[in-house]
Symmetry: C2
Subunit: 340 residues, 2 copies
């Protein structure tokens, strides 16, 4: 268990029972009674040099900050509605900075039905972006706790690309200010692949349509968004459901850009896919019936979905490979461990 | 107009119209259609060394952070319901720190009907606390824009005490580590007065009961919470309502502790009351009818309320004193101007 998860457990012990809270801290978002149809709410705090690299474009940071929150709503199958945006920044960087952050968040949020309704500003030594977002729950919301033995395990998109993008961005940051300029080329990887990896990190797409389809078409038994790494988030879903999750290395949807990057860096692409983090893909489980419904209209999900494993009795998350298996439930990022 | 207000104006220009947003950025909280009975939402970000002194007790910080948000809901006449809590902190300060912050926020929130439902943690170079809170609107919500010429102007509690408390706390911080220890005594002020001033700064009481009464008993025509200073917040209310606010210096509710402190520091207590900030009192306007209803059951408001001025045609906020009058609409703290 990661320190952040221990924190949530201790926090839950502090909370008195309160009417109307269907699901409090510990899932992707809170689920609340609020007359009809209820309320799904979440928050994420992004800190410069911890959760994103210094010098990133402020408007893109705003897009990313709202996307990270929408990803939590997506993991509940909720329809985004509104958000609040608080920004801290050094006054000497000028008032255009928070406005650019807001512009990015407003634009990206609107694409997914989320509207800015308020916020706060504070001076700060570095850029801080805190968003709280809420939406309307699905008739049967997705939680982390519904996975059952025998379910299949799926993931959307291509986990690991964002981690590769972060490493590319870091290298570019290290080179910026030198003669090579801010956009060094890596001859080993096509510029198309570089662009895709950087976009996966800097401008993730929240899987809102997928989440809603998984809930409304009763496809998934449980879901979580992969923010800290496929391994650690699979471990969280397994723990909440009281099951063990097996992920088969051979089934991981490793993309060509990820493989090119891994070859250049002499890394294993599966390691990046399992422990990279920042993917904002959905990891979910489905019964045989649900999996059949998933295959009926895969194009309606707006993103490729890959079956990567299964749910078995026991606990934890493991990666099964030709040489055996290894625990991956602690592989990933913890928000208390500082910069990635 | 303060830089923060200019920011809000620019931000509003960015926002496309969206259904269901009855009141977006620019008031104390957002007011949203959300089936019955709607939703009132607000957020505040507190940054160590900007919005609070380094070394403050974490549990008390949590109490203060939720109180600041509840004060925004109070200014709308809303009934608090839920909140989300995001905390950034240096990992080396230990996991007990965010738990203490959460404990303080949970306890203080519960007193006013607000329950913690989720949150986020991040590593950060300093303590950051971001809360988003929401509640149920009053049948006729209070806004900043309803003041009319001829209304009387009221304020709750004793503005200026928090600013005096902040100055005391700063002096104590400067002395900490010396032989005088963390609690130096100021012989010029009784320890009871010192305690009261420090509490006004560190542990403000949100005026939730007052706000609800002002809305439900249709007492107030407009309201704002005094977070940045009576002057600047009166200026905001005047601007939103399209009126001018006159505050009479002789009517300001200057408390004995504030006067003792001001004498010691050779300050004018009225200056602290007008430009101090951090009061979290309610400034509101009322018609003659509303003022009469206010006087019917003053004890039900849970706090002393003082008539301090009136609404006249024009713009801005002015303090009227024996020697004349002066503009006070820009007197106070701006969140973009760094530490107080």
């Amino acid at each position: 268990m990661k320190p952040e998860d221990r924190f949530v457990e201790k926090l839950r012990a502090l909370l008195p029972p309160a009417e109307g809270i269907l699901l409090g801290p510990g899932d992707d978002a809170a689920l609340l009674e609020w007359h009809e149809p209820g309320l799904v709410a979440t928050t994420d705090l992004l800190v410069e040099a911890v959760d994103f690299l210094p010098g990133e474009d402020p408007q893109r940071l705003g897009r990313r900050a709202i996307a990270v929150n929408l990803s939590d709503l997506a993991a509940m199958g909720a329809a985004p509605a509104y958000f609040l945006l608080a920004i801290g920044f050094p006054a000497e960087r000028g008032e255009e900075l928070p406005l650019a952050v807001a512009r990015g968040a407003i634009e990206r949020g609107r694409e997914f039905g989320a509207h800015l309704v308020g916020g706060d500003l504070s001076a700060a030594p570095q850029i801080l972006i805190s968003i709280a977002a809420w939406g309307r729950p699905a008739p049967s919301p997705l939680t982390r706790s519904g996975a059952r033995v025998g379910d299949a395990v799926f993931v959307s998109g291509h986990p690991g690309e964002a981690a590769a993008g972060l490493r590319l961005a870091r290298t570019m940051e290290a080179f910026s200010g030198t003669e090579r300029g801010a956009s060094p080329r890596f001859p080993e990887i096509s510029s198309e692949h570089q662009t895709r990896l950087l976009a996966a990190y800097r401008d993730p797409l929240p899987r809102v349509a997928l989440g809603r389809a998984l809930a409304e078409r009763v496809i998934a038994t449980a879901a979580i968004d992969v923010s800290d790494g496929l391994g650690v988030d699979a471990g969280r879903l397994a723990r909440a459901s009281g099951v063990r999750i097996l992920i088969e290395e051979d089934r991981l949807p490793l993309s060509r850009p990820l493989i090119s990057f891994s070859e250049m860096e002499e890394l294993k692409p599966a390691d990046l896919a399992v422990s990279g983090g920042d993917d904002y893909e959905l990891l979910f489980t489905a019964s045989a019936d649900g999996a059949a419904r998933l295959e009926e209209r895969p194009e309606a999900l707006d993103v490729v979905v890959t079956r990567i494993g299964r749910v078995v009795p026991g606990e934890g998350a493991v990666l099964v490979h030709r040489g055996g298996e290894r625990e991956i439930g602690d592989l990933g990022h913890d928000h208390l461990e500082g910069p990635r």
